[in-house]
């Protein structure tokens, strides 16, 4: 019983770290890319339409790590594989 509570507690901390650090990393990446886009647009405004699609794709790539992190966090929240060790 104590082991179960311990695993759940550490899993909760892990989920928080996965979501929090993933969100922080994605936000830093998006911030850097948006700053570069605005800088590029200020230098060459005619390039804005051409850059738009690429910015969208790169936003998706930067967010991919966060989305994978969300999926992993949900796996640990709803179908925690570590709990099977205790239940056996």
């Amino acid at each position: 019983m104590e082991a179960l509570a311990l695993i759940q507690a550490y899993t909760g901390i892990g989920i928080g770290l996965i979501i929090g650090l993933g969100a922080a990393g994605a936000c830093i990446g998006i911030g850097i890319m948006c700053a570069s886009f605005l800088e590029g647009a200020a230098r060459q405004p005619e390039m804005i339409p051409a850059l738009q699609g690429k910015v969208f794709l790169l936003l998706g790539l930067i967010d991919a790590s966060f989305i994978i992190g969300v999926g992993l966090a949900m796996m640990f929240a709803f179908a925690n594989p570590l709990l099977s060790v205790v239940s056996q």
Binding site: P49, F66, M75
Partner: protein, 130 residues
């Protein structure tokens, strides 16, 4: 004329992205299904499908703002699209984890990861040089 062409190429880029994501999802689902059975294949399809549905909504929002000429307006529109995408993916994943009883979590994560990462594959097919 040039603006129309770039708008068409951006739309083409979004379509390429969705196509690559669908291919990645199907490949992972087939591999998962062959290795671990039908529930694993369905789980991979659900994981990849969540990302594809989110990306489709995001692409629709991004397409709406293509005619904007101000950089800040374009950027805000793209960030709005990305926020909607994350929200939709999180909601679908939550529903899948709650409702699908015979879920294979590792297959779902594999489908999700492959589909999310392959969104960048459309960059290689991009026609407009920058």
């Amino acid at each position: 004329m040039a603006a129309l062409e770039t708008n068409q190429s951006a739309t083409q880029t979004y379509r390429n992205m969705l196509r690559w994501q669908a291919i990645a999802m199907l490949v992972v689902a087939l591999v998962a299904g062959a290795l671990a059975g039908m529930p694993a294949g369905i789980s991979a399809l659900l994981g990849g499908g969540a990302v594809i549905v989110g990306a489709w909504f995001a692409a629709k929002i991004a397409e709406k703002g293509q005619s904007q000429t101000q950089a800040t307006a374009v950027l805000l529109n793209l960030l709005k699209a990305e926020a909607v995408k994350i929200l939709i993916v999180a909601m679908i994943l939550f529903a899948v984890f709650k409702l699908y009883q015979s879920l294979v979590p590792f297959a779902l994560i594999a489908g999700l990861a492959a589909t999310a990462l392959f969104s960048g594959a459309a960059l290689a097919k991009s026609q407009t040089p920058v």
